[in-house]
């Protein structure tokens, strides 16, 4: 659990830095980054980083995502060989997320939402979320149809559901299987996209009523899969208390 928590913290830091990078002016390409003052320490990894950038372009992955990760690595003073290896892993994560979106016809036409989806998806994969489980979230969100997918459409809803499930798993110590089941159930649930995080509050109430986290997870997932609203889940928790 400690490792998961650490990765969770790193993921949050990465997300924050990534969002900050969006608003900041700086190198837009890996080559420009390497030529800038921040990249001079990474000259020994130049060839590998440029190769990664070329691969990203070939796969349709915006190079700015790699530049964000380079900024993050340079801020943490990661040594060049380790950073180059990390960029390679990130490239595979971005590719995996793009593959999931492409297989479902959900790749945004505009650059900004595409970058946001790839960034968030990669954060989830880096935190331990599986590609198959992320795909299940997307299928669940798409199957839910056009009814209130929320801002960003079904793909954004799917990633939101996975993020909430990851948060719940880190806070309440859920195993990977329960985390993935919760994510998929949230994505396909009747809960509005901006209310998916209410599940954290429901989990807390369940704990307060004496339910072990695994039992709470099973109960809430069963309810979400059945199509229960927040009111129904609240009622299910209330009738389980013997206190």
């Amino acid at each position: 659990m400690k490792g998961l928590r650490g990765r969770g913290v790193l993921a949050i830091v990465g997300a924050i830095l990534g969002l900050a990078r969006l608003g900041a002016e700086g190198p837009a390409t890996v080559a420009a980054w390497l030529a800038a003052p921040i990249g001079t320490s990474y000259a020994t990894a130049r060839d590998g980083l440029l190769a990664a950038a070329e691969t990203a372009r070939a796969r349709g992955i915006p190079e700015s995502l790699l530049v964000e990760r380079l900024d993050e690595g340079a801020l943490k003073r990661i040594e060049p060989s380790r950073l180059a290896a990390a960029i390679g892993q990130d490239l595979e994560r971005f590719s995996s997320v793009l593959g999931l979106l492409d297989a479902r016809g959900e790749v945004p036409g505009e650059l900004t939402p595409k970058i946001a989806l790839l960034r968030q998806g990669a954060i989830l994969l880096r935190a331990g979320y599986g590609v198959t489980a992320l795909g299940a979230c997307m299928d669940g969100a798409l199957a839910r149809g056009a009814a209130d997918p929320g801002p960003g459409g079904p793909a954004a809803r799917a990633l939101r559901a996975a993020s909430v499930a990851l948060d719940a798993s880190l806070r309440f110590g859920l195993d990977g299987i329960r985390r993935d089941a919760l994510g998929a159930a949230l994505a396909s649930s009747v809960l509005a996209t901006d209310r998916l995080d209410a599940i954290l509050s429901l989990f807390t109430k369940a704990r307060g009523l004496g339910l072990a986290p695994d039992r709470a997870s099973d109960l809430l997932v069963a309810g979400l899969v059945k199509g229960s609203s927040l009111e129904a889940l609240d009622r299910e928790l209330a009738r389980r208390s013997l206190r």
Binding site: D139, G140, A181, R195, L200, S201, G208, D218, L230
Partner: protein, 302 residues
């Protein structure tokens, strides 16, 4: 309702397969029973006097399609300057059909203490719930036979409650009526319209509040009182905070009241059990006020 496209139908099939795999693998949502057992042992101070306290709770549940069966048992006991114990059991059988859920409940309890006549109760009830996207409704009726300090009585209860989500707040207006008929005594009627609300924000905190106005009719006499209850649960890291309270205030003054505040740090796993170290301060007013402190260890097996 808009007809589904071929693409949406394909996504439904993939989503259903994926969910079935994930749900069947980890959630126990199939016919195989799942359950939980909790054991709590500790030391208590009741009005300054030490006592040992223990609680054991068991719960098992099984699903078969739209039907579900659940059983729960809770045992509590303490021994110190005096001894007391209680046992509560409950069985629920439910059946869902679309947005309608019917639930049959059978429950009973037994409690006793040193120098106090034992009390018991047995009840059966039916709950019907209609679950809508924006508004839900619940109606229930129950019949109970009980013995309090040797006095036998029948009690019938019925209630109706609506619940609707407004932002992060779940509003639950409702009304409850109950009739009590002691053996060989006069009947009394209580009406309790009230409002409950539950707050489910997007972080690990949950708060509930309920308040109502109760009017008791006993013969030609009436007694008005306000009843209220509140609870707060918050989780930060491995620490769980619980705060609960209830009170009845009538023209005759403060009636039954209780409050408790607890902290329960999660200590991780011990084998297949989750270990925690709960600490609670409780205050109960039901005649003579009793202040108690509890500290112990709890094990949860699931």
């Amino acid at each position: 309702m808009r007809r589904q496209t071929t693409g949406q139908r394909r996504h439904w099939v993939r989503a259903a397969i994926g969910l079935a795999i994930l749900a069947g693998a980890g959630t126990g949502a199939g016919a195989e029973p799942t359950g939980q057992a909790d054991l709590e042992l500790g030391a208590a101070l009741l009005d300054g006097l030490p006592a040992a306290a223990a609680t054991a709770a068991f719960e098992a549940e099984a699903f078969a399609g739209p039907a579900a069966a659940r059983g729960a048992l809770r045992l509590e006991g303490r021994a110190g300057n005096d001894a007391a114990g209680s046992a509560e059991a409950r069985t629920d059988l439910s059946l869902s059909s679309g947005s309608l859920t019917s639930l049959l409940r059978l429950e009973g309890g037994l409690s006793g203490a040193t120098d106090v006549s034992p009390s018991w109760r047995g009840a059966g009830g039916l709950v019907l719930s209609l679950d809508g996207l924006d508004l839900s409704a619940k109606a229930e009726a129950a019949l109970e036979r009980r013995s309090d300090a040797g006095v036998l009585s029948w009690q019938g209860r019925s209630g109706f409650e609506l619940s609707g989500l407004v932002g992060e707040i779940l509003l639950k207006p409702g009304v409850e009526a109950s009739v009590a008929l002691p053996d060989g005594g006069a009947w009394s009627l209580s009406l309790l319209p009230g409002l409950g609300l539950s707050w489910y924000p997007g972080f690990p905190l949950s708060a509930s509040l309920s308040a109502g106005w109760r009017r008791d009719f006993a013969g030609t006499a009436t007694l008005d009182s306000m009843v209220g209850a509140a609870s707060l649960y918050a989780a930060t890291g491995p620490l769980l905070l619980t705060a609960e309270g209830s009170a009845t205030l009538s023209t005759a003054g403060l009636g039954a009241a209780s409050a408790s505040l607890g902290l329960s740090p999660d200590l991780g796993r011990l084998g297949s059990a989750r270990l925690a170290a709960p600490i609670r301060v409780s205050w109960v007013l039901g005649g003579t006020p009793v202040l108690s402190l509890f500290a112990g260890l709890s094990l949860a097996f699931d």
